[in-house]
C-alpha cells in the first residue's frame, strides 16, 4: 500500500471520476486555472478542459442552483464552495431545491451532485472562515454529509459521493489537507457506514475528520492510564450509522461524542440523544464534548481552548465520564 496526502486524495478522486464518467463536471471559485485556494485541485483544468472544469463568478447561490439544474438534466456536477462558512449562501438551492427533488418529483429523477467545502477551526482564520457547517444541514432529509478523516478515506468517499445519486455535502477539514496516510484497498467506501478505528472496552469515543485524530491521541493517553477506549469514525454524518455506535455502547456502556460544533444543535448532542433513545439500558454515561458557545475566536490563546484537544478528551473520559482505570 502506498501513501497519499489529503490534497492528492481529493485531486485524484476527482480526476478518476472525471476520467471515468464524462457526465462529471467540476467548478467553483478559483478551482480551475489556479487549482483552488487550498491547492487541492491543480491540473484538472489542464487535463479535462474548460468545458468540464471551470472557474466561476463569486456567486454561491448560482453555483449550487446551477449544479442542481445540471444534475436533474443529466450531468453529475461537483462544485466547490470554498469555505464551509459560505454554505448558507447556496443553502436554499441545496435544501429547498436539490434535497427535495427526488421525493417531490415522485422519484422521477435523482440529483447526483457533490458540494466540496473546506471546514473547521484551528487555522487562525477567525469566526467566519473556521466553522463546521454540519449543524445547519444535519436535519435536512435527502442530503448526505460526508466527513473523512484520512487521505485514503477521503479518496474512496469522494469517489463514492460522486457516484451517489443524491446531493452530498463533502467536508474537508482544513487541518487535514497536509496530512498523509495509506491508500485503501477498496476503490470506494459506502456512504452511511461508520468505521471502528480502534477497539476498546471502557468507553466509546465518536468523532469525524480531525476529531478522529484527536480521539485516537486521547485513546493513547487513556491507554497509559489503563483505560481502553474504542474510537469510531462516523465517516458520514447523515445518514447516521447509529447501529455501529449502539453495538459499541453495548460493549463499553459509555459514550463520548466530540465535535467542533456547538453543544446545542450539533451532531454530537444529537448522537447522544439518538443513542440514548435506542440503548438507554446499556448506558452508564453519555456526553457531548463540543466547541464553545460563542463564535470562533481568532487569537491563538482563545481559539486553542475553544476546541477539544486530545488532553481534554482524555480528561473528560477520566472525570466526567467517570471511567477509572480497569473499569470494565
Amino acid at each position: 500500500m502506498s501513501t497519499l496526502d489529503f490534497r492528492t486524495a481529493i485531486r485524484d478522486a476527482l480526476a478518476e471520476e472525471l476520467e471515468r464518467d464524462e457526465r462529471v463536471i467540476f467548478y467553483g471559485e478559483d478551482v480551475a486555472v489556479a487549482g483552488g485556494v487550498f491547492k487541492a485541485t491543480p491540473g484538472l483544468f489542464e487535463r479535462f478542459g474548460a468545458d468540464r472544469v471551470f472557474d466561476t463568478p463569486i456567486s454561491e447561490l448560482a453555483l449550487a442552483g446551477s449544479a442542481f439544474g445540471a444534475a436533474v438534466t443529466g450531468l453529475r456536477p461537483v462544485i466547490e464552495i470554498m469555505f464551509g462558512d459560505f454554505l448558507m449562501l447556496p443553502m436554499d438551492a441545496l435544501v429547498n431545491q436539490a434535497a427535495k427533488y427526488w421525493y417531490i418529483s415522485n422519484e422521477q429523477a435523482s440529483v447526483p451532485l457533490v458540494v466540496r467545502s473546506a471546514v473547521g477551526g484551528g487555522g487562525r482564520f477567525g469566526a467566519i472562515h473556521s466553522q463546521d457547517p454540519t449543524s445547519w444541514f444535519l436535519g435536512v432529509p435527502g442530503i448526505k454529509i460526508v466527513a473523512p478523516s484520512t487521505p485514503g478515506d477521503a479518496k474512496a468517499l469522494l469517489k463514492a459521493s460522486i457516484r451517489d445519486n443524491n446531493p452530498v455535502l463533502f467536508l474537508e477539514h482544513k487541518r487535514l489537507y497536509s496530512t498523509k496516510g495509506e491508500t485503501l484497498e477498496q476503490e470506494l467506501l459506502p456512504l452511511g457506514k461508520a468505521n471502528v478505528v480502534r477497539e476498546g472496552t471502557d468507553v466509546t469515543i465518536v468523532a469525524v475528520m480531525k476529531g478522529v485524530h484527536d480521539a485516537l491521541a486521547a485513546a493513547d493517553l487513556l491507554a497509559g492510564d489503563g483505560i481502553s477506549a474504542e474510537v469510531i469514525d462516523l465517516r458520514t454524518l447523515r445518514p447516521l450509522d447509529l447501529d455501529t455506535v449502539v453495538r459499541s455502547i453495548e460493549k463499553t456502556n459509555r459514550l463520548l461524542a466530540i465535535e467542533e460544533g456547538p453543544v446545542l444543535g450539533g451532531w454530537a448532542s444529537n448522537l447522544v440523544g439518538l443513542a440514548s433513545a435506542e440503548a438507554l439500558e446499556h448506558l452508564d454515561d453519555a456526553f457531548a464534548l463540543t466547541g464553545g458557545d460563542t463564535p470562533i475566536p481568532y487569537s491563538p490563546t482563545l481559539e486553542d481552548p475553544f476546541f477539544a484537544s486530545a488532553e481534554r478528551i482524555a480528561e473528560t473520559v477520566r472525570t466526567r465520564i467517570g471511567v477509572a482505570a480497569g473499569a470494565s
Partner: protein, 328 residues
C-alpha cells in the same frame, strides 16, 4: 386598442396551424385555471393556488418556439408553463387535488410540479429557483444543442438568484432563455415601487445579454420574440432575455385583498385579454367563428374529462407506497 382590426393577408398554412395550436393551448390554460378555481372553492384543491389567468400568451407563445428536448423551469404560478409544454391536464389536476395519479403522485402540489418527460424541470416555489434550475439545465443543454427556458415574474428580478444566474449564464455562455413575465405586481406590491430603475430589460442589458420587451398578451408577438431568441441562442450560444408585459387578471393567490389595483386598470387589461386578441387575429386571418367555436368546444370537453378523471382518482396511501429518503 383596436390593434387587430386591420385585415391582414391570410398567413401560410403552417403558420396558421401554429396560431390555431397556440390558441387552443391558451384556451386549455384558461380552462384549466378556471376549473382549478372551482375545485379550490369545492375543497378539492388544497392549501393555496396561484392562477395564470391573463398571462396565457406568454408561456404558450414561448413553448411554440421550443423543441421536445428543450427544458423549461417555471414558478409556483406554473400550471400554464406546464400545460403549454404538454403536461397532461388530468395528471396536473390530480396533482393539485393530491391524488395518486397526479403528475408527482400528489407529493408536490400546485407550487412544485415536476414533469421531466415533458421537459418541465419543475415549478419552483422559491422566487428565483426557476432561473437557477434553467441555468443548470443550460450546462446540460450546451452539450445536446437544447435550450433551457426560465419563466419568472417581475418581482423575481430583485432577487439574488436572478442576478447571480444571469451573470453566470452569460459568462459561461449557456443556452438559456430568461423570460420575465412582467404582470406589474409581485403579490400586492406594484413593480415600480420595489424595482429600482423600473426597467427590467436594462438589467439584462447590463450583463450584455440580448434582451427584448414584448407585448405579453399577444401570442404572435411573444412567439416571434421567442423564436428569434431561441434561434440566436442555438446559433451563437449564450443566453437571451425577454420581458413580456402582461397582467394577472385574478388575485395573486387564493387569499388576495386585491385592493392594490388602481381603478380601471383591470378593465383596461381585460380589454386586452390574450384570448380575445388571439381570436381577433384568427378572425382577421379568415378563420371562421364556427372553426373557433369548434376549438372552444373541444377544449371544454377535454377539460371536463380531465377533471372527471382527476376527481375519480384515489388519494395516495403512504403505507402501500412508502417513500424513500434517498435515490438508490
Amino acid at each position: 386598442m383596436a390593434r387587430n382590426s386591420t385585415q391582414a393577408v391570410a398567413p401560410p398554412a403552417a403558420e396558421l396551424e401554429r396560431w390555431l395550436t397556440g390558441y387552443e393551448r391558451m384556451l386549455l390554460l384558461r380552462g384549466f385555471e378556471e376549473a382549478m378555481q372551482t375545485q379550490f372553492m369545492r375543497g378539492e384543491v388544497h392549501g393555496t393556488v396561484h392562477l395564470y389567468i391573463g398571462q396565457e400568451a406568454v408561456s404558450s407563445g414561448v413553448s411554440l418556439a421550443l423543441r421536445p428536448e428543450d427544458w423549461v423551469a417555471a414558478t409556483y404560478r406554473g400550471h400554464g408553463a406546464a400545460l403549454a409544454r404538454g403536461v397532461d391536464p388530468a395528471g396536473l389536476a390530480a396533482e393539485l387535488m393530491g391524488r395518486v395519479t397526479g403528475t408527482c403522485g400528489g407529493r408536490a402540489g400546485s407550487m412544485n410540479v415536476i414533469d421531466l418527460a415533458h421537459g418541465l424541470i419543475g415549478c419552483f416555489g422559491i422566487i428565483g429557483g426557476s432561473a437557477a434550475a434553467a441555468t443548470g439545465a443550460g450546462l446540460s443543454a450546451k452539450r445536446t444543442g437544447a435550450v433551457a427556458v426560465a419563466f419568472f415574474g417581475d418581482g423575481s428580478t430583485n432577487h439574488g438568484y436572478f442576478h447571480e444566474c444571469l451573470n453566470f449564464a452569460k459568462v459561461h455562455d449557456l443556452p438559456v432563455l430568461f423570460v420575465c413575465e412582467n404582470n406589474l405586481y409581485g403579490e400586492f406590491t406594484p413593480m415600480a415601487q420595489v424595482t429600482a430603475g423600473a426597467d427590467i430589460t436594462a438589467r439584462a442589458s447590463a450583463y450584455d445579454i440580448p434582451s427584448e420587451r414584448v407585448d405579453g398578451n399577444d401570442l404572435r408577438a411573444v412567439h416571434a420574440a421567442a423564436a428569434a431568441a431561441v434561434e440566436r441562442i442555438r446559433t451563437d450560444g449564450g443566453p437571451a432575455f425577454i420581458e413580456a408585459m402582461t397582467y394577472r387578471q385574478v388575485g395573486h393567490s387564493k387569499s388576495d385583498p386585491g385592493a392594490y389595483r388602481p381603478e380601471g386598470e383591470l378593465e383596461r387589461w381585460l380589454e386586452r385579454d390574450p384570448l380575445k386578441i388571439a381570436r381577433e387575429q384568427l378572425a382577421a386571418d379568415g378563420v371562421s367563428s364556427e372553426q373557433i367555436e369548434a376549438i372552444d368546444a373541444r377544449v371544454a370537453a377535454q377539460m371536463e374529462e380531465a377533471i372527471e378523471q382527476a376527481l375519480a382518482a384515489p388519494y395516495p396511501d403512504p403505507v402501500a407506497q412508502p417513500a424513500t429518503e434517498y435515490a438508490a
